[in-house]
Amino acid sequence: MSDLRTLQARMARAILNRDFEPVAGELSAGSASPASRLSIYANNTYLSLKACLKAIFPVTQMLADERFFDYAADVFIGRCPPAEARLSRFGAGFPRFLAGFAPCRDYPIIAQMAALEWAIADMMTAPQLRPAPMSDIAAIARTNGDPGIGLQPNLRFVVSEWPLVQIWGDHRNGAQSAAMPPHPSISRIAISRQGDSVQFMTIEPARFAFWRALARGFPIRVAAARALGRDRLFDLVSEIALLFRLDLVTQTFATESKGNLQ
């Protein structure tokens, strides 16, 4: 007879691998088979985690076909089970898993839609801070150090070869199937929320680079350099003012130099 820690580890593996015989001898179930009864826990585990993924990735499921999504989710759960009880965090690795999942390789839109849907789910659990007033823009000029801008912590970014927002919106508006667009084109999407409302912004490369660098904590100097690398006419002052107008700025601050232009 194993100690409790070993028993629980063996049961967890049996449930995850759906191979119950190795641990069945430690269990009792009256006149029923312990292995058969243990399979109930495995069913509960897989079904509830699949339900969690289906709730987070509804349009991905539509694009992939329900049966295929079910299969992919099953494989994902077996390979990458959650390690903690906060299911709001489960699914973070699903887009990357789909991107590398051989049966999806010819359909990159599936993984890219999953990335969009994860960004939405992740954003809904992130805080929305009080926006800084436009008057704070003057503080940036007065900063002694390397000035930085803090953006809303719920701001998320997705890059795709497909018009994901349009497809996702069609689904939300009741489309029964998601049409595959004929021609891929790069779209850079920023997502934030205002209260319960999801706000999508499709933005050009320079602005996207600027926002993403700021969101990663880089000072304005580095973020602007990245933007200028994509558009030599990038208008820094106007772009900072735009961030204030969109209520995306939460603070201004001086930061130590965090990075270079690599």
Partner: protein, 324 residues
């Protein structure tokens, strides 16, 4: 019947579980229901759900029900998860905190199910240590809920009521008696549900759960599955009435987690729980409960899957920031 029982701070009436699909209905209608139970793990961030509960709790007493502490884990309770629970309780100031007599994390994997522990001295020491650690962190006692079980352990040396009574003595915790779970486990494991309840320390029971279950046919015969996806069946109502006769009224929750019905169905079940408990009190121990000949289900409308943004006030603002 003891004059006093485990103090919870919850009103001695029926409450319902707060689910995201019903948040808007609760906020807009503010229905008359005794209290709300929330799952702690759904409120461990600072997003839309947390802000909604900030508003709702000003109108309702809240019971914080954990489903992920894994209090039966031989590896101990996760410090990170415990700290999050402490923060959730600080933010929402729940009237009561409860968890399950179970484990769900083994070998580094979270199984998202509630697995039973053996009823022996080793497990008793593990669970008691974990409960004490949680209570120390929260600076308050918690209630421990009995599971619906499908397997037992060859190594068990005591019954579950004996195990729970020992936990109460060792840790000062109270009990959350899930009557549907007792019914399901009794049928699956072959024991008498009423005797099980009679052996529990009644004074320690601070809250009751009621829920529905389904019966599955397997090659081994019939097995009851605790699915929280249907109305409380008459067999469970009957066991509830017997329990109230035995221990007196308690704050009672209608649990419904899957295939969620409209809010009114939950409110109806809660009302029925109050009526039944009142009738048992009125008859002062008599089992002469007037069951309706047939309780017709209210019209049920299926809800869509519960995406994080489903049924929220999500309006899509498709815009190009360049034109702002």
């Amino acid at each position: 019947m003891p004059a006093q029982y485990y103090p919870t701070g919850l009103p001695e009436v029926a409450g319902i579980g707060l689910r995201s699909q019903h948040v808007r209905g609760i906020e807009e209608r503010r229905p008359s229901v005794g209290w709300l139970e929330v799952h702690a793990e759904n409120y461990m961030a600072d997003g839309v759900s947390e802000q909604a509960l900030d508003r709702i709790r000003s109108n309702y007493a809240v019971s914080m029900h954990g489903v992920g502490l894994s209090i039966g884990s031989a590896g101990g309770v996760s410090q990170a998860h415990l700290e999050r629970l402490v923060e959730v309780c600080r933010r929402y100031e729940p009237a009561m905190v409860s968890e399950h007599l179970c484990w769900s994390i083994g070998d580094g994997v979270y199984l998202n199910d509630l697995l039973p522990v053996p009823h022996d001295e080793e497990a008793l020491a593990v669970v008691a240590d974990n409960i004490l650690r949680v209570q120390d962190a929260l600076k308050r006692p918690i209630l421990i809920e009995n599971l619906a079980t499908y397997v037992g352990f060859a190594r068990s040396t005591m019954s579950e009521p004996e195990f729970l009574a020992a936990l109460v003595r060792r840790t000062g915790c109270g009990l959350l008696l899930d009557i549907n779970n007792v019914f399901v486990s009794a049928r699956n494991m072959g024991f008498d549900a009423r005797q099980y309840i009679a052996k529990l320390p009644g004074h320690a029971i601070g809250e009751i759960h009621l829920a529905g279950h389904v019966e599955n046919q397997t090659p081994d015969g019939k097995v009851l599955i605790d699915n929280h996806g249907s109305r409380v069946p008459q067999s469970v109502w009957s066991l509830y009435a017997d329990t109230i006769q035995l221990i007196g009224r308690r704050p009672t929750l209608i649990e419904w987690d899957s295939d969620l019905p409209p809010l009114d169905v939950l409110l109806g079940e809660a009302m029925w729980a109050d009526l039944l408990a009142g009738a048992v009190d009125l008859h002062s121990g008599s089992a002469d409960i007037a069951w309706p000949a047939e309780r017709r289900p209210a019209p049920e409308k299926k809800h869509r899957s519960a995406a994080p943004y489903a049924n929220r006030n999500v309006s899509l603002i498709l815009q190009d920031a360049a034109h702002v």
